[in-house]
């Protein structure tokens, strides 16, 4: 049962990391300058008695460790606190935002990984040639491209030439009862943010795949495979690619963190109503509970994606699977 114990170990790490991140999240926001009650009510007329009452009501007079376990318990129950700016429970705000983010991030990630694998393989196989130089340069350029600037350029081009919607997710005040019309509307709105996010992540995935494959291609068994007269395609598909898969999967998991940053910037520029845009608004409004929640949601999703990558890794690696 080595695979099961591998997954169990990864699961244990996941739970531990989640615990640490909630602890960090808790501690960071306790270091805040200012008084939480004053930040929430923003009313100078509160009397000391009222402030004491509110302190007691929110449990702020309890010892810190007890506050932390109350916080943890509340997180698990879905009680994520109240937004300073919206004065609403955070969960109510957060849930639709998470869905909207996933609608954008999942297709963008899948697309950029697929494209990245294709061009990365081509570049590594033709290494040293013009194709490789071109692919490497373009990928480096895309990787260095400021996401928010690329988005802005797309907005500028679209307003002047392309006539695609440049903000939001759907047109307001339009009847969306027809599912096809709804999808069409969504599709025109998602085009530009999707293109932005795919392009900026695509560069790093290409470089990752190229690097992993180049590493494998310098191994002796590849030389042997070529020497015994196998066709290029056979060397690539049977000897090189399977071995390049493992580093690709683990490096892809690491670059997911970068993809998440890209999504925050993309959502901000295109006013996409997801978690990233929520974080931008929370920064501008000094809405700390919302910022805290947005940070937690994004971190948890990156952790889960990494866990998923570990599962795939375990399935791909015969050393884990068959031992």
């Amino acid at each position: 049962m080595p695979y099961r114990s591998f997954i169990l170990r990864k699961f244990f790490t996941l739970v531990l990391t989640l615990f640490i991140i909630t602890l960090v999240n808790f501690v960071l926001f306790r270091l805040l300058p200012g008084d939480p009650i004053m930040l929430l009510f923003r009313d100078p007329r509160l009397t000391p008695e009222q402030i004491d009452y509110l302190y007691h009501k929110f449990g702020l007079d309890k010892p810190l460790w007890e506050q932390f376990f109350i916080y943890l318990w509340n997180l698990l129950r879905g009680e994520w606190g109240i937004s300073f700016a919206y004065k609403k429970p955070i969960m109510e705000i957060l849930i639709p935002r998470i869905t909207n983010s996933l609608i954008l991030v999942i297709p963008a990630t899948v697309l950029s990984i697929l494209l990245g694998v294709v061009t990365g393989v081509v570049a590594a196989w033709k290494r040293g040639g013009l194709t490789d130089a071109l692919v490497s340069f373009v990928s480096l350029g895309l990787y260095s491209l400021p996401t928010f600037w690329l988005g802005g350029i797309f907005i500028f081009l679209s307003i002047n030439y392309w006539r695609l919607p440049v903000g939001g997710m759907l047109n307001y005040g339009v009847d969306h009862s027809n599912p096809l019309a709804y999808l069409g509307d969504l599709f025109t709105h998602i085009t530009l943010p999707l293109a932005t996010l795919t392009l900026v992540s695509y560069g790093s995935f290409t470089l990752t795949v190229r690097g992993a494959l180049l590493d494998v291609l310098s191994e002796d068994y590849i030389r042997t495979a070529v020497a015994k007269g196998l066709s290029s395609w056979r060397v690539l598909s049977r000897h090189a690619l399977p071995n390049a898969m493992l580093p690709t999967v683990s490096l892809t998991a690491v670059s997911l963190g970068t993809a998440v940053t890209g999504s925050v910037l993309t959502e901000t520029v295109f006013n996409w109503p997801g978690v990233g845009r929520l974080i931008f608004d929370a920064i501008s409004n000094r809405d700390y509970p919302l910022l805290q929640a947005g940070f937690l949601v994004i971190t948890i999703s990156v952790l889960l994606a990494n866990f998923l990558a570990d599962i795939v890794y375990g399935l791909l690696d015969p050393r884990v699977k068959y031992r």
Partner: protein, 291 residues
């Protein structure tokens, strides 16, 4: 003796840079930026803070080469002064990154056991948690001085360097000369910094150039999002105001095009330098190997 070591190190680093085409191009780009940053006060006729409400959002003209922004500031001046902000952030944040990353990597690779386990858990944690997200939270809580932003970026980016160094140290510490040195009574610290560090130093150098690119990029993203001091002259600031004043939709192309291109160029310069150096120091990545 000490100076000789430094000069020797610099010379071999320079040889490495010059031997690869990518790193040569990268270095040339960076030097061009440095020159512009030094010349900024002499070639720009205005002050970067000087506003002129009689000439706001002017397109490029002989008086204002890059036009003016929504407060009537000269955009050419702003873009030129922004170079030094980015360079300062990139270099100082990377200094912090290298310091922490090298020490963690050396210590964790050299002493196995509990120390290694604890340090690697912290490294993994920072590797897995999206750094810019953590920077946003810490940055918006700590306050927005340039020093804070440099520290936040530097202290959250060291995990890749620590990982690379640790894996190298694991091999190097088994080499006979380390054994020999230890048998002659050398202490742990001497072995780590005198014997092992010089061997891993080239890799630290290559990685640190990538880390500069990363820091400059992160700083611009943070400032754009409103974390950080928007009174510092930087490309992130210009783009932040270009965005909030609606210049993308209004079509003031001279407002948002130069800062993006200049940011792209500088980040790309450091990326090319770093990637080129990686190819020099890791022969497996060299594209000239034939099968």
């Amino acid at each position: 003796m000490k100076a000789g070591v430094v000069v020797g190190g610099l010379r071999s680093a320079l040889n490495a840079v010059v031997s690869n085409r990518k790193s040569r191009v990268g270095l040339a780009v960076i030097l061009a930026y440095v020159a512009l940053a030094i010349l900024a006060p002499f070639i720009s006729p205005y002050s970067p803070y000087e506003t002129d409400i009689n000439s706001i959002l002017q397109p490029p003209s002989p008086q204002h080469l890059f036009g003016t922004d929504d407060a009537g500031r000269d955009l050419f001046t702003e873009n030129m002064y922004a170079i030094s902000t980015s360079l300062i952030v990139g270099l100082f944040a990377t200094l912090v990154t290298i310091l922490v990353g090298t020490v963690v990597g050396l210590v964790s690779g050299y002493y196995s056991g509990v120390v290694d386990e604890v340090l690697m858990r912290v490294t993994d944690f920072l590797l897995i948690v999206p750094p810019v997200m953590l920077m946003i939270v810490v940055g918006s809580l700590l306050g927005s001085s340039l020093l804070n932003i440099i520290l936040v970026i530097g202290l959250l980016n060291w995990s890749p360097i620590a990982r690379v160094i640790r894996s190298m140290v694991l091999t190097v510490k088994e080499w006979p000369f380390v054994e020999a040195s230890r048998s002659m009574g050398a202490g742990d610290r001497l072995i780590m910094f005198k014997h092992i560090f010089p061997i891993v130093a080239p890799v630290v150098f290559a990685n640190s150039m990538l880390s500069v690119a990363n820091a400059i990029f992160s700083h611009a993203a943070l400032v754009f999002l409103g974390v950080g001091n928007i009174n510092d002259i930087s490309w992130g600031t210009i783009l932040h105001f270009a965005y909030t004043s609606g210049s993308f939709t209004a079509g003031y192309w001279w407002y948002f095009t130069p800062p993006g291109l200049m940011l792209l160029g500088l980040v790309l310069g450091f990326m090319l330098l770093g990637v080129g150096l990686e190819e020099v120091y890791n022969p497996k990545l060299r594209s000239s190997i034939s099968v």
